[in-house]
Amino acid sequence: MKKALDIRWLYILLFLSIIVPMARPLGLPLKMGTWTKVVWDTLDKLTPNDVLLICPDFNPSIESELGPQRDALIYHLGQKGVKAIFVTFVPQGTQQTKKFITGLEAAGRKYGTDLVDLGFLAGEETALAAFFGDMKKACPKDARGTATADIPLLKNINTARDVKLLIHFAQSLPGTAEYVRQLGPYGITFVECVSTGAMATSVTYVQSKQALGLIAGLQGAAEYEMLNKHLAYATTAMDSQSLAYTVFIGAVIAGNVIYYIERKRARTK
């Protein structure tokens, strides 16, 4: 039973490591990774006439990882003043689209001429293939009930080839692999916004240059905020994150030291 007690102390330690920096920010320095920088530089080169396709395929379960990325992108894209088409292939993604559109409208973009919400499409990878091949056929109407043929923004846009860049938020399915498979024929680049959980498997596609860059997790969002020079949730949460990792790292090391000592003792007996 002694062991069960031990682990609860560790839980409390983890809790404290998160809450203390929230009350008293430590302002730990953040070191910039290369992946996020590539994405920011690419997006910074966009002009107001460039049309983006944004697919927020994630559920609120990982809001605290991808939400800050979404907000940092809204800020950046709002300043750049680009045009954007939204569509999602997971049911709960529609709420994320809504947040995007509200944010970009606040930055002065107009629905219909600059922004359009094509809602959700069922069918995962099949839907991806159909949508990229013929957007207006896959989505005869936008989420607000207007026929897509009548939307000014979509006038010259029919296939994935007609957009400048795709930004994809990945949680599970459809993930990086599905997008790589279906975007291949259209030769457009795409940016992956992933949780740290998916980072290790998405990085392969960055290496093969099939994906342009990666924003990974809360840290990626914090790096993006730093590049935006507009600090928000992710930057403040990174203090908690750093301290919480330290607890994890400490737990692994402590566990192994105990294991080593126990084994040594068992041997000398």
Binding site: L10, W35, P91, T94, A122, T126, G133, Q219, Y245, V252
Partner: protein
């Protein structure tokens, strides 16, 4: 016959889509696009089917007065609440947003966050350098964690770079190897499917 015909039609649809990918022939491309469009519509029905299935199951649990019946009742109440709000008032309505913000968002995030405690428990009790392989795993996990946490760069400047190296070189290489293997696997399971050999997905023989 009750299995052969569906399998045959499915295979035919699959072959059309594959052929349209390779062969430059307009009618084939049109047919393939149409089939995918059907796929979307059927998937939308499947999404609704899953919900109907769930309702049936929980209605049964209540009817049979199973111990979980009160929970099933609560489930049905919120299910009909959000469905009615969404269908009649729209997805932007206050009612729909209430269920989304009040239940879906917090509970799903909480469950996924809770796994952090299991992970911490595993970090302390289970992640042990018991063998050569376990040691490799531990070292790479530590390198990634130290590189992504600020504490790492305070100890040694090189940790963030080391973490990116671990992720971008040995990890990506292993992942690439697995990916190539998995693609070949997908191909052979696709062949089995198109030939109608794999039919477990059609359920048991009746």
């Amino acid at each position: 016959m009750r299995r052969e015909v569906p399998v045959f039609l499915g295979s035919a649809a699959g072959v059309v889509i594959l052929a349209a990918y390779f062969i430059n022939y307009k009618p084939l491309a049109t047919l393939s696009a149409e089939l995918m469009n059907w796929g979307i519509i059927m998937s939308a029905f499947a999404l609704c089917l899953a919900s109907v299935n769930l309702v049936r199951k929980h209605v049964n649990q209540i009817a049979r007065k199973e111990p979980v019946a009160p929970f099933s009742l609560a489930l049905l109440i919120v299910f009909f609440g959000i469905t009615l709000a969404g269908l009649f008032q729209g997805q932007n309505s206050a009612g729909f947003t209430f269920f989304y913000k009040g239940i879906l968002e917090p509970v799903s995030a909480s469950f996924y966050g809770m796994l952090g405690f299991y992970l911490l428990s595993a970090a302390f009790r289970t992640f042990r350098a018991r063998s050569y392989e376990a040691t490799l795993l531990l070292l790479s996990a530590l390198a990634v964690m130290l590189g992504r946490a600020t504490i790492g760069s305070l100890i040694w400047e090189g940790f963030p770079g080391l973490a990116e190296w671990f992720l971008g070189t040995p990890n990506a290489a292993a992942d690439r190897g697995v990916l190539i293997g998995a693609s070949l696997g997908l191909l052979s399971s696709g062949v089995r499917l198109m030939l109608g050999i794999d039919r477990a997905y059609l359920g048991s023989e009746e």
